[in-house]
Amino acid sequence: MKRLLVAFLLVAAPAFAADQTAATAALAAADQAEAQAGQLGNRWVPAEAALKAARAAAAKQDWDTALIEATRAKAYAERAVEQAKEQKMVWQEAVIK
């Protein structure tokens, strides 16, 4: 029985570690993208909400949720960055002339 438990832990541990590693990496990437959106003065509400949810899940070691929310936050933040960069080029077209 002891040997079986040790064997299970040896097999399962990398899987847990991989989840945590992936979630932590996703969180770091989302943080970076959101910081960039902030520098451009264009943070989105759903990006902040997803990031908050990801951090809360990570604190509870719920790595699956943390990974999902961090991925979502990163996608929103990247869109915000894209929007800000695009608007920098085109906002003057909207000015009343």
């Binding site: 003065g41 509400v45 906002w91 909207a94 009343i96």
Partner: protein, 283 residues
Amino acid sequence: MNIRPLIPVALAACLLGGAAPAPADGLAVAAADQKAFQAFFKDRFPTLPLAEFGNGPYAVNAEMRKQWEDIMQFPPYDFALDEGKTAFETKFANGKSYADCFENGGIGVRQNFPYFDTKTGEVITLDLAINRCREANGEKPLKYQTGLIASIDAYMAETSRDKPFNIKIPDDPRAVAAYEAGKEFFYTRRGQLNFACASCHVTSSGDRMRGDILAPALGILAAFPIYRSDWGSMGTIDRRFTSCSSQMRSEPLPPEDPAYRNVEYFLSYMSNGVPITGPGTRP
């Protein structure tokens, strides 16, 4: 004389000149912007006199105006007005009062705010001036956006009713830059819904957005502070910017952030000539 080494310097000077126009050019651009802005709204609402734009949605929708006239039998901002008057007239611990901080004792000056302070190089809104007055006299600053600051703001606006906006851009590159930053903010789309301030208050002004009538940007700040039924309380310009940002799914900036002050400067300058109607009420 070999002028080759001077060419890059001359090119750089030209490029820099292009990127940062001289203040006089910036002032001419701002004046042309204002003329075009006011002409746009006069064209969109041809029967509306300039003075009416300070009434926002009530100026452009007959049904809403009727409701508003009924509401104004007992204006919901009256309590705030009384509170603001009392606070304004109450002396600070050092014996001074708000009147000591403002031109003309703070009476009838709302139309001159915001202004560009050439000493500090920043836009000063009325709310910021109220809090700086408190701090200069050893008092704690008030919480922005609602509460007592909105009440004092309401009293000061009420003493300025019918005085037309009279916003000046001094011949100072920093003032022109603040104006330009406010203009960029107003026309830039942001947030998940991809809206600019202009999306609602220029191209869709007077139209419905669900249950609301979108107010024209011209004169849009004249009625502030406002009692908004949606809030169930008074709110300053800052509060409205914050809630607009949230509605567009864009993270709001902190109260009195320079970006908000700059957009207030731009919008108020665009509205020169529109009389102050504040305090006001909105749905």
